[in-house]
């Protein structure tokens, strides 16, 4: 079922290019794109660039995710921490990722650390906000169950607050993963010597439309797999949830 649309689209694509409705440099045929993919993967090291992008992403996402969880938990558990950090964070959040690039380039150069910071920042907010919201959403009735058995703060956190907040935390993680991937591509597009964004930039400069298609499909595919991974973990962890499935 989930393959109907992609396959249909590919067939339509083949039809359009075969009938010559559109010039090849606007829309190369699927076969040309497949040939370009073959060449890029086996001769010009496309997978190495993919791997490079993924590595930067995981570093940034790990850093941002960890900070987001830590701040989210701290602010969720303590009102005063929340009051201390949220105004500043809310202001920082309003500045879009790309606006930080000039400053990051100035401070950290055009190397990888700037990108890691940019991705960490992009990941931080959804994780932070959803963790905070998840903890604030824990029902007092459930907390009371812990209190009845004499649970202290730490045991309440471990046995009630965290499990109860997990669905919301996962929403943040999934959203952040998608966001980090797009921020990564955007950052590489602007200044990099490796990575999928850089390859996209190259293909654009040389008007190699077939290569553009290869990279776009690859970006979509990797992003989809990232999301699928998190979704699978989410399904395992939250197996107890019974939701409307359509």
């Amino acid at each position: 079922m989930s393959l109907v649309l992609p396959v249909g689209l590919a067939l339509l694509w083949q039809l359009v290019s075969q009938l010559g409705w559109v010039k090849p440099y606007f829309l190369p045929s699927p076969l040309t794109v497949a040939r370009a993919a073959n060449e890029m993967i086996f001769e010009t090291g496309l997978l190495k660039d993919t791997w490079f992008s993924l590595r930067i992403i995981s570093e940034g996402a790990f850093l941002g995710g960890l900070l987001g969880l830590a701040f989210g938990f701290a602010a969720g558990i303590s009102r005063s921490v929340e009051k201390l950090v949220t105004p500043l964070l809310d202001a920082v959040r309003q500045v879009p990722p790309l606006a930080w690039i000039p400053l990051l380039v100035l401070w950290l150069g055009v190397g990888n650390s700037g990108k890691v910071v940019l991705i960490a920042k992009a990941v931080f907010f959804p994780v932070f906000l959803n963790t905070l919201q998840g903890i604030r959403g824990v029902s007092l009735d459930q907390i009371e169950v812990g209190r009845i058995f004499g649970y202290g703060r730490l045991r309440l956190l471990r046995r009630i607050i965290i499990p109860s907040a997990l669905p919301s935390i996962f929403v943040g993680l999934r959203f952040a993963a998608g966001l980090s991937w797009s921020v990564m591509i955007a950052a590489e597009l602007l200044g990099s010597r490796y990575g999928l964004g850089f390859r996209l930039h190259l293909a654009q400069e040389h008007l190699m439309t077939d290569q553009l298609f290869v990279i776009i499909i690859l970006i979509g595919l990797v992003g989809y797999l990232l999301d699928l991974t998190i979704r699978t973990i989410q399904g395992r962890v939250l197996h107890w949830r019974r939701n409307f499935v359509g």
């Binding site: 009735d141 009845i148 107890w240 019974r242």
Partner: protein, 292 residues
């Protein structure tokens, strides 16, 4: 997993539980077991005042109450009479504004495993299995001890096969039974029940009342149950505490000496029922005037 069919069967037996005769014998043993048992819970001049936007509201006003070890007490009253507040104070979930609250002579200053609580909603944690929920209060026990106690109380409440099920797979009656097992597993000195069967349908409720009576006799537990159901109170209680509202006060204390298992057509049952109904009507007239 489709539990629905099993659920309806186990919730609504076709006949009276076969334990009737045995139950009567055990209840008689209990009656013979000697003179009055010691006082387990003692409340003296307990008041509770809540702050509200319209000023302080007195929920409880000088409540005196003594509950003996092994006694089944039902606190009954219309909504707003402070009966739930009274129970929450005994549970240590609220503090009294004035007065003395003691459990075995020691003041109750907070919640703890010596006081079991069952709420109207089962409050099982949805991410845990039935067994993990029942064993929730055994956090400090070894895994082996926990397994033994959990399965013992799971069987006691009749959830034998459902240890691995999750709460959302249970019916309301089954979930409430799991909640009762969770409250009992620590062998609390007192079990506090806040309208535990209020959300169940009438048939399931009657069945659960008999089950609870059985558990009470088996565990020789002290139980305090808040209810607004007169029939339920007479069916279960050794002592009925009738409260009046605004502010919440103890209106009458009525001993129920009907042999167990009780029949609802027993003359004393009917007499107490009539008496309580008249009492409530009198109270209602006090609030709403003669018009009703």
């Amino acid at each position: 997993m489709n539990l629905e069919s099993v659920v309806s069967q186990s919730d609504r037996p076709l006949a009276e539980p076969p334990a009737g005769v045995e139950l009567a014998a055990r209840a008689a043993d209990r009656a013979r077991a000697g003179g009055p048992s010691p006082i387990e819970v003692e409340l003296r001049g307990v008041s509770k005042v809540f702050a509200s936007k319209a000023g302080p509201v007195t929920a409880l006003d000088h409540v005196d109450l003594s509950i003996r070890r092994g006694e089944f007490v039902c606190i009954i009253g219309t909504s707003g009479c402070g009966k739930t507040t009274l129970l929450r104070i005994m549970a240590g979930l609220e503090r009294e504004s004035a007065g003395i609250v003691r459990l075995e002579g020691k003041p109750i200053i907070g919640p703890g495993v010596d006081k079991g609580v069952v709420f109207q909603d089962h409050r099982l944690l949805p991410w845990l299995t039935v067994d993990e929920n029942i064993g929730f209060g055994l956090d400090r026990h070894s895994a082996a001890e926990r397994a033994v106690l959990t399965s013992r109380y799971r069987n006691l409440v009749g959830l034998g096969k459902f240890g691995e099920a999750h709460p959302n797979q249970l019916s309301g009656g089954m979930a409430q039974r799991a909640a009762i097992a969770r409250a009992l597993v620590n062998r609390p000195k007192i079990l506090l029940l806040d309208e535990p069967f209020g959300a169940l349908d009438a048939l399931t409720r009657r069945y659960m009342q008999r089950e609870l009576e059985k558990i009470w006799l088996e565990e020789q537990a002290t139980m305090v149950m808040v209810t607004h159901d007169i029939d339920e109170a007479i069916f279960l209680a050794d002592t009925i505490v009738q409260m009046s509202s605004h502010p919440g006060r103890v209106n009458r204390i009525i001993p129920v000496n009907i042999p167990r298992p009780r029949r609802r057509d027993h003359p004393d049952f009917v007499a107490i029922e009539t008496q309580l109904l008249e009492e409530f009507e009198l109270q209602a007239k006090g609030y709403f005037g003669e018009g009703i």
